[in-house]
Symmetry: C2
Subunit: 269 residues, 2 copies
């Protein structure tokens, strides 16, 4: 709980640190964000996004998409990037994470500052209705029988009356709860990219879920988050032959929508 | 109405035709899918997707994302592609559409055949409730005061009692209706990529909408569509300073979900 408070880099910042070396970005993939033997997809996307934000000199990823090629191993990695468009309001860039001659994920994104735009605003949804975090129960991927280092990285809370299960036919599989970094690091736009893939899968209600590896993850960051807990709502509507989408929303502690996400994943039962 | 019936290529197939030339794909961008002076983003994504499907030898785009850099002009274009992963069940590839030295959009996608997967299925949503197409009204982007060649490419129908407007606070802007190609071409997985961006924006209800250029578009094709009309449901929940997301679902004539989409767009009023 003390890293961020003591002025040391947080676990998230330490594990997404990048440095420029010979025209590429050097990074170190750690196993601290693993689910089983594979690093979490949101952690990996945040790592590459950090490099793309640096290259475009933009504050925020308006939209980033990762396609996952093969799981990285803990250790050194290289991020090779290319800026496709460098604008004042909007930049577009792509980058891949490599270990040796093998590319593990490719990312494509648009970067900018939504506060530099002018136009109408309207919120056509409401934040999840949750008891305050203090009244919620610490919970984690209790039904997934595998080693999950990632469970130590986040403080994740579910309402005390929540039960994983299958809703009525025609209704989505869904979960909503609170999340924050376990070491006290506050949310920021980059953290939202990781938080969008940090909840247990909404499809846990299908039972006997062993793993839900992400094939593709897209995160849209819409606003800078206020400090404090982040409320997340995740749902899956279309499960077909083990492939499913999961939609996420992240709301900050002031009740403001700060990011939404969608992923295509494979449900391994 | 006769191209497809007479054995000629349909307008969609003619305008997304590609041929291999000197290690790249050659294509011709037409203005037949224009909204104002810019080609529709779904048409452009379908054009690049066709090249990536050919390169990966896969039948279907499980997930494709386009980021738009600058609007192409009618005329010759080159599609430069790279296969990042070539698998039996899944392939990942990226490609850019270029005119001269200028790249207009970059696409990243995962390709495969969902029917080769095995696992549970579950539908947590219902198709839009619509009167049959014959009872719906032909409609188009009537409120957008610009030349829209694209209106001649699709037959688009709205329920007779539908009115563009702002729903209650906290509810999404939404539209649902029927769509098919005007020349009778039947839907297939590639067509779904274009159909996912062919509806008028759900944000038309905001009024005084001039244009809604797409910054990023992601389409997930989940199944092969049956012949006939396609029902679409599109909604926008989060409009902030003119930036908004739009979520789409496409259901085939048998009531089966065949694709879903999300885009980040800029609302120009």
């Amino acid at each position: 709980m003390s890293d961020a408070l003591a002025g040391e880099p947080s676990q998230f910042d330490a594990d997404t640190a990048i440095r420029r070396e010979a025209g590429v970005w050097a990074a170190t993939v750690t196993d601290r964000w693993n689910i089983g033997s594979a690093p979490n997809g949101g952690y990996l996307l945040a790592l590459v996004t950090r490099a793309l934000l640096a290259d475009t000199d933009q504050p925020l990823s308006l939209s980033v998409t990762a396609h996952y090629l093969s799981p990285p191993q803990p250790g050194p990695a290289t991020i090779r990037t290319e800026v496709l468009k460098a604008g004042r309001r909007l930049s577009v860039a792509t980058g891949g994470l490599w270990q040796g001659e093998r590319e593990q994920l490719r990312v494509l994104g648009t970067f900018g500052d939504p506060d530099r735009f002018e136009g109408p605003s309207r919120v056509g949804a409401t934040p999840p209705r949750l008891p305050p975090p203090e009244s919620c129960s610490p919970a984690w991927l209790i039904s997934i029988p595998t080693q999950n280092e990632i469970r130590h990285r986040f403080d994740f809370r579910l309402p005390p009356d929540f039960e994983w299960g299958r809703p009525e036919p025609g209704q989505p599989l869904a979960v909503a709860g609170w999340i924050r970094f376990a070491d006290g690091r506050q949310p920021d736009p980059l953290a939202l990219v990781a938080l969008a893939d940090a909840f247990p899968p909404a499809a846990m209600g299908m039972g006997e879920l062993r793993w839900a590896p992400t094939l593709e993850l897209t995160v849209h960051v819409r606003n800078r988050p206020a400090p404090g807990w982040v409320a997340g709502r995740f749902s899956s509507r279309f499960l077909r032959r083990g492939l499913l989408e999961e939609d996420g929303e992240l709301w900050d502690s002031t009740g403001q929508l700060v990011a939404h996400s969608r992923q295509l994943a494979l449900l391994v039962t």
